[in-house]
């Protein structure tokens, strides 16, 4: 009996380790700074994290399918610049679908390269990181993009609006997380994503269209990036070409923190959301404590490694790796 309950605790820890870590951070920061756990702060952290969060949702699909997407930051810059530019040219009603269409085209391009042509995703998306940046610069002529009439547009609602007293970016993030979470865990498509990431050959032998599944993951990722770009553009109504630079690693860190394996085949949307929140709260908590931004780097380092380590340690039932 005793061993059974011990095992149970162990498996609960293994499954919910990331949640426990999250709780510990919240308590620690709250003790350190009484502003931390206030509605004001939470409502300012989450919208700021919302765009990383939304991107992380898409990247979760890509990672589970056994691939990487390092182009999301650069792609988000693209969609932000495009939607801002088109806003003044063709109006927000048309600008938003046009931007989504263009971003999805980029996603489709990557999806074809990685899914159908089976090129390595790390390198393809690395190349796209650079190429899309070039595309953005060409599109904007290197200039910042700003909406002319900032007060008079309803476009700001996606980034700055509130509904039911909750900031709209939070709502978008929550809604998307719920929909994509269900899609991943409950639908046939989600199952196929896990299968393709877990063992692509076996998935093919089971009649799953592997290329199409991977392609769809990149489409989803691009959709999330476009949504993030929309939030971003609407939040500041103006942007520079590098607005998304470096976000790819932040997003990837959140997904990994959530426990998705880079080998593919594992991870969940729920855990990614927790990963996003942890990174967002660390960033915000350290800022509130008045620590230098580079302390945050070191803390993030320690937390990422500890979180992933404890996660796998719980899974294998021992702290140290068995590798000789």
């Amino acid at each position: 009996m005793a061993t059974l309950s011990k095992q149970k605790i162990g498996s609960v820890l293994a499954k919910q380790g990331i949640l426990i870590a999250f709780a510990v951070f919240i308590v620690a920061f709250t003790l350190a700074n009484n502003k931390f756990l206030t509605v004001d702060n939470v409502f300012s952290v989450v919208p700021a994290s919302a765009k990383q969060g939304v991107m992380a949702l898409g990247v979760t699909f890509v990672v589970i399918s056994g691939n990487l997407d390092l182009s999301v930051g650069s792609m988000m810059s693209f969609s932000t610049i495009v939607v801002l530019d088109l806003h003044d040219k063709i109006g927000p009603f048309l600008a938003i679908p046009a931007m989504f269409a263009m971003t999805l085209c980029l996603g489709a391009f990557i999806g074809i390269l990685v899914g159908y042509l089976r090129l390595n995703s790390l390198i393809v998306t690395l190349g796209m990181l650079s190429a899309i940046h070039g595309l953005t610069l060409t599109y904007s002529g290197g200039q910042n993009m700003d909406i002319a009439d900032k007060e008079g547009t309803w476009f700001s609602v996606f980034g700055q609006g509130t509904a039911l007293g909750i900031p709209v970016p939070i709502l978008i993030f929550a809604l998307l997380a719920a929909v994509l979470g269900l899609m991943l865990s409950r639908t046939p498509f989600g199952r196929k994503v896990y299968a393709v990431g877990g063992n692509g050959t076996a998935a093919t032998f089971s009649g799953i269209r592997r290329a199409r599944t991977v392609f769809m993951c990149y489409i989803l990722s691009a959709f999330c990036v476009a949504t993030a770009g929309l939030i971003q553009a609407s939040r500041s109504l103006g942007s520079q070409n590098t607005v998304g630079q470096g976000l790819e690693l932040e997003v990837l860190a959140a997904v990994i923190l959530g426990g998705a394996s880079l080998m593919g085949g594992s991870g969940t949307i729920f855990k990614t959301v927790i990963g996003v929140l942890i990174l967002g709260f660390i960033q915000n908590g350290l800022l509130l404590l008045g620590l230098q931004f580079y302390v945050q780097y070191v803390v993030t380092w320690v937390i990422i490694i500890l979180a992933v380590w404890l996660d796998i340690a719980a899974k294998r039932g021992r702290l140290w790796s068995p590798i000789a």
């Binding site: 639908t187 046939p188 896990y194 063992n199 076996a202 093919t204 089971s206 594992s266």
Partner: protein
């Protein structure tokens, strides 16, 4: 030999995995110069026991003795240093490296500055390869070898050191008769040198041919040890599974229906040429041949995984083009592939999800997967195939090899195919389950299914087939009916001798 002391003794070994008590106080001893069989159903704990011995798993209880001395196998290196060589059930090779580097993996001969002594390495390796009478040399890339040849490389590792004990964990699972002969020679040489050999296999005829004693495990518990000459298959089987089995040849024929599959002049590059045969409903057609004969490639072509370079495939008399497994599945074809880990299973996924993978699109309630229906399917085939798992949530990767194979079979049976192709369906499966699967295949035929069985085990082919297609080097040599076939004529046909080169 019984008067000497055991070279190796395991005493009361206990090993648990989360949710499984894989070994429960197992004791076991090997004498020098003895071939000691370890038998048991799939999941009985044989591989686990050997992994404890080989230092790969640490036991939760019990002790290991070598001679009189108690030892702790802290890792594979330690075990190797103590003279224990482990030939794994699952191939454990680095494909990009050469044969020589693989055989001497972890103990490459050195020169000054940590350099590899290539000359010594090649010489030693070629000497071993010569003993094994294989057709490749030390510098061949392992990835270019067939599975069987890779298995021979694995076996070659037993000959690199002065071993005290050698563990063979199902070495013959992917070998054909020709290589088996070589393996048995190797074993008798080792035996003559006074090495203790532990031999794990599900193939009774081998056990009775080469072993001296047999120890049996059931559900992680030690059932006892018997001297081979003093026992027989029936008694061993009873120890293993607690009941008797029917091991006869197929004599029964079902009413044959229409032609379900017809293949005309099918070729695929150099893999196979001019293949023609037909399979009727209610018929089991066995494909027998040596490794590399091209049987798997035919199956893969029929499943839409290869594009034929010539010829036609007709299903129910209608010519079809199969571009992908999706097409093949839509036409009612199922393929149980040869390589269960690489092609059959997503090891990180649970049992249920693996089993329902090909039909997940159809098992829906609204936009979602109908999980209840899935569990029902899993339960049905778990019972039918006697799959031993803690539950449908268990990761397939944690099941024993044989139970994994049953999941794959269940997966394809649950598709209710009109043409079922099974490639090495009982590789690594224990006698009990094997006969269940054979019964199942016969039963499916009786229900009007068309079944193709590819196997490298003659008894299996003889047992289940209504007709047998013998292949050699990408060609069909001869087709036998089960009444006319004899073991000799079959062996001649698959060796390229004797057959008239024409499908009968």
């Amino acid at each position: 030999m019984t008067d000497t002391k055991p070279i190796l003794r395991l005493d009361g070994i206990v090993k648990t995995f989360p949710g499984v008590r894989a070994l429960d106080g197992v004791s076991f001893a090997v004498m020098p110069g003895e071939v000691h069989a370890l038998m048991g159903e799939n999941g009985a704990g044989k591989s686990t026991l050997m992994k404890v011995l080989g230092g790969i798993h640490q036991p939760d209880g019990g002790a290991i003795y070598m001679g009189d001395e108690q030892v702790v196998m802290s890792g594979p290196l330690e075990a190797k240093a103590k003279g224990i060589v482990f030939i794994h059930q699952e191939l454990s090779l680095a494909e990009e490296l050469t044969v020589a580097e693989n055989i001497y993996l972890g103990e490459l001969p050195r020169k000054s500055f940590g350099r590899v002594d290539w000359k010594t390495l090649a010489e030693k390796t070629n000497a071993i390869l010569k003993k094994l009478r294989v057709g490749f040399d030390a510098l061949t890339r392992v990835g270019d070898l067939s599975i069987a040849n890779q298995q021979m490389v694995e076996i070659a590792r037993a000959l690199t050191v002065d071993a005290k004990a050698v563990i063979f964990d199902e070495p013959t699972a992917s070998l054909t008769d020709a290589e088996k002969v070589v393996l048995f020679d190797v074993i008798s040489d080792l035996k003559a040198d006074g090495v203790g050999i532990i031999y794990i296999s599900h193939r009774m005829e081998e056990i009775f041919k080469i072993t001296d004693r047999i120890s049996v495990l059931r559900d992680g518990q030690y059932q006892g040890t018997v001297a081979t000459p003093e026992t027989d298959e029936e008694r061993v089987t009873q120890m293993m599974i607690g009941r008797k089995l029917d091991l006869t040849r197929n004599a029964l024929h079902h009413e044959l229906g229409d032609v379900a599959l017809e293949v005309r002049g099918l070729s695929c590059g150099k893999l196979y040429t001019d293949i023609s045969f037909e399979v009727r409903r209610g018929e089991v057609v066995g494909f027998y041949g040596l490794v590399g004969a091209g049987r798997t490639e035919i199956a893969e072509t029929l499943f839409g995984l290869r594009d034929p370079s010539a010829g036609q495939i007709l299903l129910d008399g209608e010519e079809v083009r199969l571009n992908s497994p999706v097409d093949a599945i839509a036409r009612g074809i199922s393929l149980v592939p040869e390589d269960r880990k690489g092609q059959g299973l997503v090891l990180g996924m649970n049992c249920r999800d693996n089993m329902t993978l090909p039909q997940v699109d159809d098992l829906t309630a609204g936009p979602f997967v109908a999980e209840g229906a899935e569990v029902a399917i899993f339960d049905q085939y778990r019972d039918q195939l006697d799959i031993r798992t803690p539950g449908w949530r268990a990761r397939v990767g944690n099941l024993s090899g044989g139970n994994q194979q049953k999941i794959v079979i269940g997966k394809w049976l649950s598709m209710h195919p009109s043409l079922l192709i099974v490639d090495e369906p009982t590789r690594g499966i224990d006698v009990g389950s094997k006969s269940e699967i054979h019964k199942l295949l016969r039963g499916l035929a009786a229900k009007g299914y068309a079944v193709m069985v590819i196997s490298s085990e003659m008894p299996e082919v003889l047992h289940v087939s209504d007709r047998i297609v013998a292949m050699y080097s990408g060609r069909i040599m001869r087709t036998f009916t089960s009444d006319e076939v004899t073991e000799d004529s079959l062996i001649q046909a698959i060796s390229g001798l004797g057959g008239d080169g024409k499908a009968a």
